[in-house]
């Protein structure tokens, strides 16, 4: 008991010391320090997310290794996010021409590569690195009529696929549905009785609902917090998370870090808003 209490105290002391050290703008070395040594996963991950920009020039092999084998969630996040930026580039290139000239085989080849990663058996952060690129491939494929929007919903609910694959399809589905009121409207998305074929679809719906709040129907900070903490559905909680973030971007780093500490194992969507805001502040 005494040992564990000491450990906790020691951990807190380290964290407090770390917070004091990083009160001001963060260098790459400082962020690496936080990502590598921070015991609180959300804070470590926030630093990792901020690091991804600085890691843009590293090789794919290096980043793959980091995403797979980084000692902490922060290091693995840094690798995964930087890798994601590398994977997105060729996707946008293959669609950087008139629609008629986009080469279906090239698109297919990229889809196969990203699917192999997102739907593969590799570690979680490696699979996560392909989400954005796969989402953008799906979007481009709908433009090229290689698939339709409805098929994305089917992919997003396929339980034989990984969470990462489903999430990419879900995000693409809602991206392409954003102009369809029967799918994307405040009324439809706020419906707590609505059933979603997968958590990933609910998550992506929540992101878009949050975007609608920010874009057209702003909520107060207090309303967003309540929604993020205790919204009746995953959709509403994620919407609250998205809606809360703009209120947090100017919050001092120490305040964000302290808040995350308070939310260690509770209110995941609410905590995520603080984590993302912290990543933004770390990156400034």
């Amino acid at each position: 008991m005494g040992v564990s209490r000491l450990r906790v105290f020691g951990a807190l002391a380290c964290m407090l010391a770390l917070f004091a050290f990083v009160a001001f703008a963060h260098t790459v070395a400082e962020l690496e320090g936080i990502a590598a040594n921070e015991l609180v996963p959300a804070i470590s991950a926030a630093a990792g997310a901020a690091l991804a920009v600085d890691y843009a020039g590293k090789t794919e092999a290096y980043l793959l290794d980091l995403a797979a084998n980084g000692r902490t969630i922060g290091l693995r996040t840094a690798g995964s996010n930087a890798l994601s930026a590398i994977y997105v580039k060729p996707v946008l290139e293959v669609f950087s021409m008139t629609l008629a000239k986009v080469q279906t085989p090239s698109v297919k080849a990229l889809e196969d590569k990203m699917t192999a990663i997102a739907n593969g058996t590799g570690p979680e952060m490696v699979r996560a690195s392909a989400i954005d690129a796969l989402k953008q491939i799906f979007i481009g494929e709908v433009s090229k009529a290689m698939r339709n929007t409805a098929s994305l919903k089917t992919l997003a609910s396929d339980m034989t696929k990984t969470h990462e694959f489903r999430l990419a399809a879900a995000k693409a589905y809602y991206f392409m549905s954003k102009g369809t009121a029967s799918v994307v409207s405040i009324k439809v998305l706020e419906n707590t009785a609505a059933k979603y074929a997968s958590d990933e679809l609910a998550y992506a719906a929540g992101e878009l609902l949050g975007d609608l709040y920010v874009g057209f129907f702003p909520k107060t900070k207090a309303e967003s917090e309540t929604l993020a903490k205790s919204g009746a559905t995953l959709v509403l909680r994620v919407a609250g998370q998205v809606g809360l973030k703009p209120f947090l971007y100017d919050t001092p780093v120490v305040t964000l870090e302290t808040k995350i500490l308070d939310l260690l194992n509770i209110f995941p969507e609410y905590r995520q808003a603080y984590q993302d805001a912290l990543a933004y502040q770390y990156g400034l």
């Binding site: 669609f95 950087s96 021409m97 008139t98 000239k101 433009s143 991206f175 369809t180 975007d211 971007y249």
Partner: protein, 608 residues
Amino acid sequence: MKRLIVTLAALTAILLIPAAVMAQGYATKPADAVIIPLGVAGTDYSKLEPGVRGGTVYVGTISNPKKWNAVTAHETSTTQYTNIMQPGLVNLNPITAGYDPELAKSWEVSADNKVITFHLRQGLKWSDGTPFTADDVVFSFMDLYLNTDIETDTRDVLQLPDGNFPVVAKVDDYTVTVTCSVAFRPLLNSMTANIMPKHKLAQYVAKLNPAVAADAFNQVWGLDTDPKELVGMGAFMVESYTADLNVVMKRNPYYYHYDSKGTQLPYLDKYVVLTVASQDVMLLKYQNGEIDCFAPRPQDIPILKPEEKTKNLTVLVKGDQPGFGTTWVVLNWDTQNQKYRDLFRTLKFRQGVAHLFDKETMIRNLFNGLAVPQWSPVSYLSPFYSGRETYAGPVTEKNAVVFEYSIDTAKALFDEIGLKDVNNDGYREFADGTALEITLATNAGNTTREGACLIIADDAKKAGLKITTNFIDFNVLVNQLMGQEDYKAIYLGLTGGTEPHSGANVYMSTGGLHAWHYSAATGDITDVEKRVDELMNLAAAEFDLDKVFEYYKEYQTILSEDLGFLYTINQAFIYSYYNRIGNAQVASPIATPSGNNGLTMDLIYKKS
């Protein structure tokens, strides 16, 4: 002797070429340079700021240009480049939409309003270093725009109410007169026409060079032209073009605009227009930072707004300012099949189709509420828009011509003209039982237009009218609209402005873009078209703006009732840019940096 002459000629050529290659801009600022008072209090540009030179900005497009020839261009995929390469005697002020002196530094109008004397800026040069003179102005108007060998829409807007055309004459190297047989109020608007380089292009005009074919100029400056051959006086010139990939525009060292600190514009070294597969891909590239500024769709705003802080970008939304221009469905009154020709010329059929347009659903679903129903050929922002009750008065829509969305009304009209579902397949046939199917085409990649077509087709089905959609390349669509290929129905749009007469090329019965009924020009003219022609001429000859307003009010009413174009939706103004682009906040319905009127790209700069 002959050998000596040949040798001298060759020597001259050798001496000249290096001089042209070395042409690098003005040694000193021309005395007649245009000074843009960026950041100067009390001016139109007070909210902008002087920038710094350097850098490249990236914008996007989903279409290739069709050509580089401003005179023969009909489409924005071309004019977005030609308008920036070749300015006119006057230009639109991007802040106020008024007319600013451009290549002309001043002008006087005679007491009878029939003669305008333009005083040209002196000391200006074309991008290849050749001096600009009155010869270029006279050439542009008398040998190009008013030359019937040349296919140009500009001739339509230059035609005077009495059917004559202005005469542009040189007084001296820097003075021209424009003389009209009757007073012509919109003349100043017509003087925004691109001024073209005589020294480069006269050789292609049969009137000046009998050795070439009559239509030679119509083929000149196509996409296979070496960009070095393209000459202009605008802020940027084409540096390179790679089909389906990009157009690179580079700074013109002889541009004559300077800022209030004496810095020559444009600030940017280059801007690059990236071709992308669709508007959705454009949004992705913008989110990825590969495009610096663009015009999002209303449905894109929820995606971008939350990213304003984290990505340091701005989303401009002006819900009370629909953009200039029109969006519509056109039925081809001259389509090859006689049955469809007769059908499309039947007013009750067109009315039935108009009643199928669920504009509220389009606004809600496709535009997130950021649009207004459109019914008029005149832009919402024009002081002549007859949604106002007086010239420049507030918009009340009291005069709006409305075809309410009503499937039942559409059904009744179709019944009335004998279109019935004879074989009980859910779709109506012609009265003689033959199948009736209308293909509605629009440009692939434009998702709001595609979405609108799908909504229309869906509602048509409810009324028993079979409409199938076809999304095709923009330039192919333009070919169809120009009458070069047959079509049944097209969903498209046109640019617009404050001056309704600038639509003469569309709405006059002889207009080059009178898309629904080209045969009106050869005598097959309706009473409505005759009256529209009369009204346009009356309005053009009248200087009392209240009277002009009344003429244009009747013009808008009868055009809207006649349904040559079946109008749909007018989107609110939306723009987005990364905050690393200085002066991008100049974007408005009048002009955006990436827009097709070529204005304001010379004012923006890279902050870092």
